[in-house]
């Protein structure tokens, strides 16, 4: 059993997918935020297996784990106390930028002022691009999860291809969890589509997780920064897909295809440019 649980495929694919699917199916009638809790539980389980339960020393990667886990709870609970799209936009931007500052300040503090400015502007542009794109599709379940699945898969695969299995596994675990909840919606439907549309803050995990993992892969693991540009364009690309079909399956498929295509293309490109021979 221990050997099974230490396998990367189980930790960051099979387990988060199955857990998210089961929890979504179990909670969907109880709460419209079932998908957030499903992803949160699946991610915590995977992160616990990948990282262990030790958080000292508090590295950037461990901070990302804590922040992503917290983002699910914030996204589920904050809409109850923070109404209004503009307020939620401000809250989302502040949360994301504060989170990224916390994660990367240790490294940024040793950089030249010019490099810190570039990093800050890059992070702000990435968060703005993802937040605005996800807000456009927040009311459409197929597009929201199609884009989230593709973006997280692309981030995870690219981080792995660049240099870090740890960051890659976290991204892939989130992608698998997203896929599990998405499949649950395809199978039985759920209320989290249009009802969540008015809640900008509910897209927080889909903004914060790929932004923090993507920037970490650039700063800690040699991912070329420009690989984040096509990845950040995934939700925008998905938002442009016309979805007329009645079938949930078809809508999910049509929304996911461009996202997955971009994600896989970026990962293959990173794999080629960083050298395909891993040295192991």
């Amino acid at each position: 059993m221990q050997q099974l649980l230490s396998s990367p495929e189980i930790q960051s694919a099979v387990l988060p997918f199955a857990v998210a699917l089961l929890i979504y199916l179990g909670l969907r009638k109880l709460t419209e935020t079932a998908w957030l809790w499903a992803l949160c539980a699946a991610f915590l389980l995977s992160a616990g297996l990948i990282n262990g339960t030790t958080f000292t020393p508090l590295t950037g990667t461990r901070k990302i784990i804590l922040l992503v886990a917290a983002s699910f709870a914030i996204a589920a609970l904050l809409p109850a106390v923070l109404q209004g799209r503009n307020r939620q936009r401000v809250a989302l931007a502040l949360i994301c930028l504060s989170a990224l500052s916390w994660v990367f300040w240790t490294v940024a503090s040793r950089m030249q002022p010019g490099a810190i400015t570039l990093l800050a502007l890059g992070c702000a542009a990435l968060v703005a691009c993802l937040a605005l794109s996800f807000e456009r599709i927040a009311g459409n379940t197929a597009k929201l999860h199609g884009a989230g699945l593709g973006l997280l898969l692309g981030t995870g695969l690219s981080a792995t291809a660049a240099a870090s299995a740890l960051l890659g596994q976290l991204g892939l675990a989130l992608a698998a969890a997203s896929g599990g909840a998405f499949l649950g919606w395809v199978l039985v439907g759920g209320a989290h589509g249009s009802n969540q549309g008015r809640h900008t803050i509910s897209t927080l995990p889909y903004v914060l997780a790929p932004a923090s993992l993507g920037v970490a892969a650039v700063m800690f693991a040699s991912l070329p920064w420009y690989a984040l540009i096509p990845l950040a364009a995934i939700p925008l690309a998905v938002s442009l897909v016309p979805l007329k079909a009645d079938s949930r399956f078809l809508r999910a498929l049509l929304a996911s295809l461009p996202a997955l295509a971009i994600a896989i293309a970026v990962a293959l490109w990173v794999w080629q440019t960083s050298g395909s021979d891993s040295g192991y």
């Binding site: 740890l166 960051l167 891993s278 040295g279």
Partner: protein, 187 residues
């Protein structure tokens, strides 16, 4: 009067026989290397190309201490992609922990020769005691630059999981053999 004569005599003694001499590690003659099992098939070797350090050394008084700082990002295993991976959070996390340091806390002696050096190795922000065995040592005047020089070869081993470096265990060996050969010139 006798007291003043004694003080004057002590003051006239060469300083090096009373105080441990200060040395600076000569980076161009210092090699910090490691060896680790590669999936049980063979031993993979690598080294760090950038390091600095200092040493106090007085064999007559059997006093010595050493401090070495290694730049984590300077890891070199002769394979660029593998080196990038070794710098990532999976292994050395070089962006967040740019230095690996060793600071001695105790030296055991075999006559006037140091036999072992025990100290704290700080890696990934975690400090653990490590003992290095001195396998060779020579002090004298370098015939080329005429500087007083001491050279040491030392070996030891660590369990990398003790420092939170868990990736790839057990395929990529948990025990890492260390080898440090360094020269230091007297300031």
């Amino acid at each position: 009067m006798k007291k003043y004569v004694l003080i004057a005599a002590l003051a006239a003694l060469p300083v090096k026989s009373v105080l441990a001499a200060d040395y600076t590690v000569d980076s161009s003659h210092t090699y910090v290397s490691f060896a680790v099992s590669h999936l049980g098939f063979s031993t993979m070797r690598g080294q760090f190309d950038q390091q600095t350090g200092s040493m106090q050394f007085d064999p007559a008084a059997k006093k010595a201490s050493v401090m070495i700082e290694i730049e984590s990002a300077s890891i070199d295993t002769g394979h660029d992609k593998r080196d990038s991976h070794l710098r990532s959070p999976d292994f050395l996390n070089a962006a967040e922990y740019p230095t690996i340091s060793f600071e001695s806390t105790d030296v055991s002696w075999n006559g006037e020769q140091p036999a072992t050096v025990t100290g704290n190795l700080t890696l990934l922000g975690v400090s653990q005691p490590v003992t290095l065995t001195i396998t060779a040592m020579k002090c004298g005047t370098n015939p080329i630059n005429k500087k007083e020089t001491c050279g040491f070869d030392a070996t030891g081993s660590i369990k990398r999981t003790d420092f939170g470096m868990n990736y790839g265990v057990p395929g990529i060996g948990e025990v890492v053999d260390l080898s440090i050969e360094f020269e230091a010139t007297r300031n």
